[in-house]
């Protein structure tokens, strides 16, 4: 009989061949996580798997209860020792993988098998906690698909049919399951995308341990000579900017302001510890300036491990959770462990009208008492010659332009009196040297000044969609305070090397040194083009998928459906669902009609259809020969053909032997000759 007894669903005992696909699926799911896991977990899991395979093939005996308990306890202890903190993301994932490995010890019934498949799905998803590139997402989808194929394979009866197990038959067996799963996957994809677009996002339900391995990169909150020059060869992305407004700033307007550093200890500039939040008055001022003419833009900042953000000159944050400080710095509550996107508005024209009280004035002009005597004297001398602060700054600018030059490798400067050394001996420097020296001179002359760090410039993407700012564009400039117009930006570097600002640092540094092969590669046009388009793709991926926030969701759904309402969203989901499922349903009903597989019956069907055209219908209980005889009376010119057909059919039907193909073919030819 064609039946196999005793195939219950859950308690069915496993066969070894079912295990190969599961092992493949689990390993594929595990591979991207290996760098996050303790090194011993993979060999441990593979060891248990091999034992399980042998046990199922009856080559190895069952383990005693005590050995199993020992394995569980010792592996848990080992995990505790090898993971620094158990309550962390790494700890959680390691525990998950260990659970799956230990489950192999108990893999006896189909039920255990299915549980392992589900654990595998969860493991496959976990890699996305560590990496969110399109590549890792595609990989996670692939491993999910593979694990679901194991489900299909175990619920269809293809496995029972196969006897041998070679690699070839392994693939043959799972081909149908894979095809079926692919169909399900393809149908589910559009519905899932629609769901992704419309499903409301809610914030974190509770605090979770985050991946704390993000290194601090980019501009730091202190500045000393050489800090920024170090970043000069770092071509990794710092941030990407998309402008919503039609007007975009020119290259020389693009000062991406990060921190202001106002405390100087003789060698290092650092942040003001007593800085206050932006006063309502200052905020009002900014808002007024913004309302006249402004740049609207979105910044996607790479994970920097720091808490401050960058904005174009003096910026106003749209997001209320961001903090704005009196010195126009914008910060975030937590440091950036992953990419962060935020919207800003910057006024095109802005005049700072803040007033410094005596205490702040003193703070912004304070210098360590003894160092750099020559520079102090020089500053006082120039100050005495100039009529106003503006005049003084102009004189300093021309001094920089005349005597100084810009270099990427300024060489070692003296540790004592570094500014004296730079101003009167070296006269070679990078932006931080100019900014630092400029601020020192200003302060020495009694003008309040502070260093500002951030990025300068950017590179437009291939499609001009967004501006790409790399770490190599890190820059330092300064701001001085004037009684009439408040804080004014002054970038001494621009006087030394105007191209640095107008061309952007990458092009400029290429001119400075053509010896570095890497830099040549970096700037070769096709590679650059390719890099930019890849980056563009990556950027859109991040913008639309990874940083798809509630705000963006609202605007997209509104643009898509006209309005954001439950009814519209419901209709939209229904539409997508129907469109996804329609081909499948149609193919089912179409497939149903093509039921005749017997070639003889096919031929007879053809004959019936032909005769129907002549208004001849076969009566109930009428044999074919009778019917054909009737047809011959009606159409005497086909009488012979009808006779032949009747002979062939009867020979076929009553021969009782299986229908021979050539004769059926002959029959079909005969039928086709009929008009």
């Amino acid at each position: 009989m064609l039946c196999v007894q005793g195939v219950g669903m859950a308690n069915q005992v496993l066969e070894s061949k079912q295990l190969y696909l599961l092992a493949l699926g689990l390993i594929v799911a595990l591979v991207p996580l290996l760098s996050e896991l303790p090194i011993w977990i993979l060999p441990f899991a593979v060891g248990i798997y091999i034992w399980r395979l042998k046990a199922i093939k009856r080559q190895a005996g069952p383990l005693s209860k005590w050995i199993k308990i020992l394995a569980v306890v010792s592996s848990l202890l080992l995990l505790l020792l090898s993971v620094s903190r158990l309550f962390s993301l790494q700890g959680f994932v390691s525990l998950l993988v260990l659970t799956a490995a230990l489950k192999l010890l108990e893999l006896v019934t189909k039920r255990d098998y299915l549980l392992l498949v589900f654990l595998g799905c969860l493991i496959a998803a976990c890699q996305l906690l560590f990496s969110n590139t399109l590549l890792s997402f595609s990989y996670a989808l692939f491993s999910l698909l593979l694990l679901h194929v194991t489900l299909v394979a175990s619920f269809s009866n293809v496995l029972v049919n196969t006897q041998s197990l070679s690699v070839r038959s392994f693939f043959d067996v799972h081909k149908t399951a894979f095809l079926k799963m692919s169909i399900i996957f393809i149908q589910a994809l559009p519905i899932a995308i629609a769901l992704f677009i419309v499903m409301p996002r809610i914030g974190s339900l509770w605090a979770v341990p985050v991946n704390s391995g993000v290194a601090k990169t980019g501009v730091s909150d202190t500045l000393r000579a050489g800090d920024i020059a170090k970043l000069n060869q770092d071509y990794s992305v710092a941030m990407r900017v998309t402008f919503d407004s039609q007007t975009v700033p020119t290259m020389s307007q693009m000062y991406w302001r990060g921190l202001s550093l106002s405390h100087f200890d003789g060698s290092t500039w650092s942040r003001d510890k007593n800085l206050s939040l932006q006063t309502p008055k200052l905020r009002k001022q900014l808002q007024n300036a913004v309302s006249v003419k402004s740049f609207n833009y979105q910044i996607m900042l790479e994970a920097s491990g720091r808490s401050w953000l960058y904005g174009l000159n003096t910026a106003l944050a749209n997001n209320v959770s961001l903090k704005q400080w009196q010195d126009y710095t914008i910060t975030r509550q937590q440091s950036l462990e992953q990419r962060f996107q935020y919207g800003l508005t910057s006024p095109v024209y802005y005049v700072d009208q803040s007033v410094l009280n005596a205490q702040r004035f003193q703070y912004y002009t304070a210098l360590p008492s003894t160092q750099n005597p020559k520079a102090r004297a020089f500053a006082r001398q120039i100050r005495n010659q100039s009529a106003s602060t503006q005049d003084f700054v102009a004189k300093l600018s021309s001094h920089f332009r005349q005597a100084f030059s810009y270099t990427l490798v300024p060489g070692k400067s003296a540790t004592e009196d570094a500014i004296d050394d730079f101003l009167f001996n070296g006269k070679l420097g990078y932006c931080e040297h100019f900014a630092s020296a400029g601020a020192f001179l200003l302060r020495a002359a009694g003008v309040p000044a502070r260093i500002v760090t951030g990025y300068q410039g950017g590179k437009w993407s291939a499609d001009n969609e967004y501006l790409l700012v790399t770490q190599s564009q890190a820059h330092a400039w300064l701001e001085y305070w004037d009684t009439q117009s408040g804080w004014i930006r002054w970038d001494p570097t621009i006087y030394v090397s105007p191209q640095r600002i107008t061309q952007g640092v990458n092009d400029f540094s290429q001119q400075l040194s053509n010896t570095n092969l890497f830099r040549q590669l970096n700037n070769s046009s096709w590679l650059n083009q390719w890099r930019l388009s890849l980056d563009s793709f990556n950027y859109q991926w991040h913008r639309w998928v990874i940083d798809y926030s509630a705000q963006r969701q609202f605007s997209l759904v509104k643009a898509l459906l006209g309005e954001v309402s439950t009814v519209r969203i419901g209709m939209f989901m229904l539409l997508v669902f129907c469109l996804a499922m329609l081909p499948f349903v149609i193919s089912f009903y179409r497939g149903k009609n093509k039921t005749i597989s017997d070639p003889l019956l096919q031929a007879l069907q053809l004959l019936d259809n032909k005769l129907k055209k002549h208004d001849l219908h076969r009566a109930h209980r009428e044999t074919l020969s009778e019917f054909l005889a009737r047809a011959a009376v009606k159409h005497p010119k086909y009488a012979r053909a009808y006779g032949e057909i009747a002979t062939v059919v009867e020979a076929q039907i009553y021969a009782k032997a299986s229908v021979t193909i050539p004769e059926v073919h002959q029959l079909k030819v005969l039928i086709k000759q009929l008009k």
């Binding site: 619920f155 589910a188 499903m199």
Partner: protein, 344 residues
């Protein structure tokens, strides 16, 4: 683990399952009439998430929590994808069974306590294979269907018999978890097919006087048959269906033609199997004894059957045996049985 074995399930859960099955059967019984052939349509197909499906939803929820708490859109996307795959698999599971034809074939009679074999014919009118299909009488262990060809297959289910008479074939359940095992699509079909269950053959003792008579007759017959000068009134041509025991082998050896021995009636007394002959008060037992004797006599000679409500004239051969056994199986008239036993 949170995964419990069926064996470890507590009594409440078992009771609940049983109660649900009873309720469900009651719900269905109002909807389907017994038929020889069923086609699976939306009216008799049911679909619901399996236990595995609920686990899948649980894991998907876990993924959603992970994605929500880490504000990770990619995890949320995976979670939605899993949800949608389950949604889509509803269709696949349902269409895997839709429009399947189930026919029940004529089943052979069996003796009580033997297994009745019920053959079902499954006809697929679709171009795709029907995968992962299992069949069982409702509540029994499942049998996996293997397709002989894409178009049809037949499957035989064993049915326990414990009572003679006409056995109505119970509802048959077709079930499939294909493709992902997350959903269970099933149907309960009532089949218009009865199995004739003969009484179990049990050797019994007749009333003493009659049994003596019978024994004498038997011994007479045996003696006669063994003697060489057996009187044959005439020889008839053997026709297929006659008892093999009546073949005149001697004549066959001589002439090469099969003849049937036709005994003179006074030499060959026909044995009457009478319901009232057996000294037991239990009616079922009487039928079992009758059954045994009928099977014994079929080997050797003609016999008639006298039941309270039926009389079968003496004859022999498979057709007669079948008629006798069927009469025994269908001897249902309780009043007559009681009257018969009272008389005996």
């Amino acid at each position: 683990m949170f995964y419990t074995d069926e064996y470890n399930q507590n009594a409440t859960a078992m009771l609940l399952r049983k109660w649900l099955r009873i309720k469900f059967t009651a719900f269905i019984s109002g909807k389907s009439l017994p038929r020889k052939q069923h086609q699976l349509t939306r009216k008799n197909l049911y679909i619901f998430p399996s236990r595995l499906g609920f686990f899948y939803l649980f894991f998907t929820l876990l993924l959603w929590l992970l994605g929500t708490n880490y504000q990770n859109n990619l995890l949320l996307a995976l979670c939605y994808l899993q949800l949608c795959m389950m949604l889509v698999s509803i269709f696949h599971c349902y269409f895997n069974m839709l429009a399947l034809k189930v026919q029940v074939l004529k089943s052979e009679p069996v003796f009580c306590e033997e297994l009745a074999m019920i053959s079902l014919n499954l006809v697929n009118t679709n171009k795709h294979y029907r995968q992962g299909l299992t069949v069982a009488f409702s509540g029994e262990e499942l049998t996996q269907v293997q397709w002989a060809s894409k178009q049809h297959t037949s499957i035989t289910l064993a049915l326990k018999t414990n009572k003679r008479g006409l056995l109505q074939v119970p509802r048959v359940e077709l079930r499939s978890y294909y493709p992902l095992g997350l959903l269970r699509c099933w149907t309960l079909l009532s089949l218009d097919e009865q199995v004739v269950v003969y009484p179990k053959a049990v050797q019994g003792i007749k009333h003493s006087i009659i049994s003596n008579e019978g024994a004498a007759a038997l011994s007479d017959r045996t003696h006669d048959r063994q003697s060489d000068d057996m009187e044959l009134a005439d020889l008839h041509r053997y026709v297929q269906g006659d008892s093999v025991n009546l073949i005149a082998w001697k004549q066959y050896a001589r002439r090469g033609v099969l003849y049937k021995k036709h005994y003179q009636s006074h030499l060959q007394p026909c044995i009457d199997l009478k319901y009232s002959d057996y000294p037991t008060a239990n009616n079922e037992q009487k039928l079992q004894y009758l059954c045994f004797d009928a099977l014994q006599l079929e080997q050797t000679q003609e016999y008639s059957l006298q039941l309270p409500n039926i009389y079968l004239a003496p004859a022999s051969g498979p057709a007669h045996l079948q008629a006798v056994l069927t009469a025994l199986a269908n001897c249902e008239d309780r009043d007559a049985l009681r009257a018969g036993s009272g008389h005996g």
